[in-house]
Amino acid sequence: MKFPYSEKVLEHFRNPHNVGNIENPDGKGLEGSQACGDMVAVYIKVNPETKVIEDIKFESYGCASNIATASVITDLARGKTLDEAKKITWKLASEELGGLPPIKAHCSVLAVEGLRSAIRDYEEKHGLVIEKEITTEEVVRSKLKHVMNPLTGLDIIRTNLILKTSIEDGVVRVVVDLPADHQFASAIKEDITEKLGSLWDVKRINVVFTA
């Protein structure tokens, strides 16, 4: 049989590691993509002294690459300190899995975000977060680095898909260098709206296509 995934991905998909939930977790993150409908929940137990992740579990309502990435990322995070675990990226997970199809970046990046949001949840509960940051163009651009360009599997900033961003009175405007009827236009738009919508001081998001 011919599958679009590496043996490693298939192995994690067939027998995912760290599946399930943790009762009374120290931190938990639930990330969902409006664009594709996938969801990942990540639960962590953290040693209060050393800040080491002692237990980690995930649940997935997603496709094969979503499940496989969550499986490998929870393996990677186990036994690491929160600060170390924050550095786990989608790219690292993808390398660990022997590569993922670019179009799948989108669903698999959710697992990384789930881990980060579980860590953030822990930090918020334990008073480890600093003041809320005001959204600037720079913040917008860093958020957009988490939106994938399905054509390449790299983010839309790095692939120069974003021509212009601006923010004024809580309204963000993003100009995307794609025609509005492009195959991926609506998926990218939903993704951008979702990523920027989570910023506390953003009221509206206008995604504009060039043609």
Binding site: G62, C107, A187
Partner: protein
């Protein structure tokens, strides 16, 4: 593909390999032409059409493009620039309509109800003096819903508007007679009935005003330029002849088994489409709390080929427009699975598929954050 189809086609690759010629041509070309006409006759008689009313194309996409563009271009000055299509048409109709929209045509995308039936009153109201074409499919490619073409064709006849129906998934499997129904254009394809890929057909009722879509030679009654795909046409003709009533009953029985078993043996399952007014070969169900691409991959590993409306599976990363068209949300599309049956399936396959589904869905639900009771 059916082996008998290949057998019928083979001589037209080798012995009778010539391009079809007019009756004044060389004999091998005349033989090719005769084969082509016999194949055409199979389709004509199935539809109860008249000679000269069926042309061969490269498939359903070309047939639908020919209709939408051909009628729009032919009538834009004479009558108007308005076209009506349903929201759940195949992309070959939907995206052609959108392309015409860009060229300045006015397109109405008709709503469908929760089972996929087009809004009949909505259709009646949508037709104006400017309307040149209504395009509503026969059986839906994903959820199998079969439209009431009798009522739809009567409305179009009464309002004097051309009606096209995309019968790619229903042709030969459901009765469709142009003697009984005033349908003006019908799209068909061989690949859905164990015929070869790359060959389709289009019924065009006499006196329908339509422009040529591709320019070139005068083949196919000057409606479709280009050298005819004769082996393909022969294969299509043979495939049409091979469909029989007993086979259709068998398809329906397998379809019903999958639907009934899924609904009774697996919890949290919703049927997509109507229970009875659906294509004989099609079952489509949503297995809640799990994702379709994961299901497909697990099914593939067990030797079953099924399909899904999940965004994760689609080439555009968008969930099925059909499931969204019937009012379903992302979630409904996410876990939707389509089972399609063919001539070579047995009842045992339907049972085995659902046993496999039952196990896969249970496993995936174990790892899903949703649906915990």
């Amino acid at each position: 593909m059916d082996e008998r189809v290949l057998e019928a086609m083979t001589p037209y690759f080798f012995d009778t390999y010539a391009v079809a010629t007019s009756e004044f041509g060389y004999s091998i070309g005349i033989e090719s032409k005769e084969g082509l006409e016999r194949a055409r006759e199979s389709i004509i008689s199935k539809l109860e059409a008249s000679s000269g009313e069926v042309i061969f194309t490269s498939g359903d996409t070309e047939s639908s493009n020919t209709v939408l563009k051909g009628i729009a271009w032919a009538l834009k000055e004479k009558k108007g620039k308005h076209i009506i299509v349903s929201k759940i048409e195949d992309f070959s109709v939907l995206n052609t309509a959108k392309a015409l929209q860009k060229q300045g045509f006015d397109v109405t995308f008709l709503d469908v109800d929760a089972e996929g039936f087009v809004d009949i009153e909505g259709l009646r109201k949508a037709i104006t003096k400017e309307t040149v074409l209504v395009s509503i499919q026969h059986g839906n490619q994903e959820i199998g819903t079969v439209q009431d073409l009798k009522v739809i064709s009567e409305i179009c006849e009464e309002k004097d508007v051309f009606l096209h129906t995309d019968a790619t998934h229903s042709f030969t499997r459901l009765p469709l007679s142009v003697k009984e129904l005033p349908i003006d254009l019908i799209t068909m394809s061989a690949h859905t009935i164990h015929g070869p890929k790359g060959i389709g057909a289009l019924f065009i009722r006499k006196d329908t005003q339509i422009n040529k879509f591709m320019d070139g030679g005068f083949q196919e009654f000057n409606l479709r330029a280009g050298v005819e795909n004769i082996p393909g046409a022969i294969g299509f003709g043979k495939a049409v002849e091979l469909v029989n009533e007993e086979e259709i009953r068998h398809l329906k029985a397998m379809r019903d088994r999958v639907i009934d078993k899924s609904l009774s043996e697996i919890p949290d399952v919703t049927l997509n489409g109507n229970r009875n007014k659906r294509l004989p070969q099609n079952a489509n169900l949503t297995f809640h709390y799990v994702e379709g691409e994961s299901i497909i991959l697990h099914m593939d590993m067990k030797g079953f080929a099924v399909s899904t409306g999940s965004a994760c599976f689609s080439r555009s990363l968008e969930s099925s427009h059909v499931i969204r068209g019937i009012g379903g949300d992302h979630e409904r599309a996410h876990g939707s699975v389509r089972f399609t049956f063919g001539r070579y399936n047995h009842m045992g396959d339907a049972d085995a598929a659902i046993d496999a589904m039952s196990e896969i869905v249970a496993r995936l639900r174990e790892i899903s954050p949703l649906g915990r009771k």
